[in-house]
């Protein structure tokens, strides 16, 4: 009797999670397709579909007739890289948040807390302020990426105590060094009033200047990051129980930590380098995943990737829509504007005591 009850309970739970997965998968693909038709310039969905089909090697010529060159360029040069960029960056920030929260055993951390954002801001400001062109068109992003890695490296090595990196040290050192680096950024901005506008917009985050080469770079790095995170999801579950517990179940704590922090830093830094600082995703999307799928990282990591992508796609659609009279709003503003109320709603209606114990 008791066994049957448990079996039906497990079966019910499984069915519920399957339904949720299916719903999220459908939402993802619908949003992906709809996004291609949304922009400040109106292009009918059928034309967009024709343009996409016309890109298929060998078969594309059959569809290349009903659209103008301008429509083609808008879809291929602008919308497609922006949308794919949103998918990759949303996934990266979502997974980055899930991993960092598990390692730190702290629900209010995100990838930026270890110095990624402040380092990237310093690199970008130095590139803009110094009119540096060492990487050509990729100088601002390149400098942001390099400085982001440098600051995380500094934070990590400044946190080493007797061969180990205590997480509290890492967290506090991350906050302290980030504040220090932010002060340098503020000083640079204060020294040159003309920089403030350009840097301000970079800090707000934007997918507007996404190009195919940028998408290729961040896709490669972030596929690696997501795969590593998925492979280490059991270790991340163990970290959530504490480092002592993780060690007791055979996890090589220090080695795993440095591997995960390094891959998250690489992935998230590459995204910040090409899109600026997009907030909220890394902090909140893992929580949304936990509310929907439970606490295991075997579900939370992939769910954070998909939900992060969906969330950033919707944000990008809103930023790009004609709601703002043809003006494109920095996506970082939209993520917070729509994300916070949504998350509050989710916590109140769906969490069901998840955060009360």
């Amino acid at each position: 009797m008791h066994g049957k009850y448990l079996t039906s309970l497990v079966s019910g739970r499984r069915s519920q999670l399957s339904t949720r997965s299916a719903v999220i998968a459908v939402i993802f693909f619908v949003v992906l397709i709809v996004s291609l038709s949304i922009g400040t310039v109106q292009i009918p969905p059928m034309i967009v579909a024709e343009i996409i089909l016309s890109q298929i090697p060998f078969l594309g010529a059959h569809f290349a007739s009903g659209f103008s060159q301008v429509q083609y360029e808008i879809v291929v040069l602008l919308r497609e890289p922006q949308i794919l960029g949103a998918v990759v960056i949303g996934a990266s920030l979502g997974v980055g948040g899930a991993v960092i929260q598990s390692i730190f055993k702290n629900p209010i951390t995100e990838p930026y807390v270890i110095g990624i954002s402040s380092g990237a801001a310093l690199g970008a400001v130095l590139a803009i302020a110094g009119s540096v062109y060492i990487f050509g068109a990729y100088t601002v992003g390149g400098m942001a990426f390099i400085f982001s890695l440098l600051v995380v490296f500094l934070v990590y090595f400044a946190s080493i105590r007797r061969g180990k990196v205590p997480m509290v040290y890492l967290l506090l050192m991350g906050i302290a060094i980030s504040l220090f680096v932010s002060a340098i950024v503020a000083f640079l901005l204060f020294s040159n009033i003309r920089l403030q506008g350009a840097v301000f917009f970079w800090l707000l985050g934007s997918l507007q200047e996404m190009t195919w080469p940028k998408v290729e770079i961040i896709t490669g790095i972030n596929i690696l990051m997501i795969m590593v995170s998925l492979l280490y999801s059991r270790e991340l579950d163990a970290f959530q129980m504490g480092e002592e517990y993780a060690s007791s179940v055979g996890v090589s704590v220090e080695r795993t930590k440095i591997l995960l922090i390094a891959t998250i830093t690489l992935g998230v830094s590459s995204c910040v380098a090409v899109a600026g600082l997009i907030g909220f995703v890394g902090l909140v999307i893992p929580h949304v995943s936990r509310i929907i799928f439970g606490g295991s990282n075997r579900s939370v990591v992939p769910a954070s990737a998909v939900l992060g992508s969906v969330f950033l796609l919707i944000s990008e659609d809103i930023a790009h829509s004609r709601l703002f009279g043809g003006e494109v709003i920095p996506i970082g503003i939209i993520t917070s504007l729509i994300g916070v109320p949504f998350f509050m709603f989710l916590m109140v209606r769906l969490a069901g005591g998840f955060y009360e114990s």
């Binding site: 090697p57 200047e209 195919w212 494109v328």
Partner: protein, 328 residues
Amino acid sequence: MSEKLMDKKMWALVAAIIVVTSALISVGVVTQKSNSASAGKITVTDSLGRTFTFQHPVTRIVSLDPSATAILYALGSYRYLVGGNQFDCYPPHETAPNVGDSYSVNYEEILNLSPQVVLGYGTSMPTYGTYINDTLHIPFILDNPENFTQIENLTTMLGILTGTQSNATLINNWMQENLANVRNQISLQTNRGQSVFYYLSACGGIWTSGNDTFINQYFSILDLKNIANSPGYYTVSAELIASESPDIILLDQYVPYSDVTAAPFNQTSAMTSSPQKVYAIFNDSFFNEPDFRVVYAIQWLAEQVYPGIQLSISQFPISLQYPPWPSS
């Protein structure tokens, strides 16, 4: 069992996303356009020294630079403006769609307008300029006039670009003639060499413009001594204001007079003289947009600083629906 099933589904979902993403990327890469070089008859050079060549004068222009928009209007090339920016102020009633400003632009709208060239402003190449040039394959011409000679160069460049070079010459001659007249009249004044402080902004400090800025050139022509000696735009200490005690304070349009009624300004020569020598700029666009209309800004400032001076600006050489001089 349930978790394992979930794992498989999640892995499958992630794998599907990766496959779709990779497929779309590969398709996109295949369809990228190459940037073909053009050879032609019109050649212009921008403030970064980059050269652009066109077969014919351009007839579709997007301007992200309010000064360039004003100059295009004066040249008679305004009909070629297919996209403007949110800071365009002259001529009034712009009908071309707004595609952004100096910081953020709408790339879809720019592509949709099919411009032959995009004009921008800045000391260095902005990231959107690189994007327009390298990704959208539309020539992005940057300008950055920091003095009157460079304004003339910009006017000439836009004249060549739009096939209105004769009008550009007329405008430049008009500027030179009137500025020479101003210099002559100033040389006759007895109270030259007064010290001046330009109060640019009160946001986060006392902002001013230093000795290598565009604004400083107004002061040079009018034989005024800027108390801000450092280069660029920066904040000065209250002690500098108190110790230098400027004879004249020039207020930006958006700095209220009440800001100079307290220390350190209230004890300065400008505030204690009778009448006070505190002048609020009547219209920012004449002072802060580097185009031919600066002649009117200098006329106004000269008349404030040297009461009784007889300065008349000659008739603008091109007949325009919206006159370039300030409306009274």
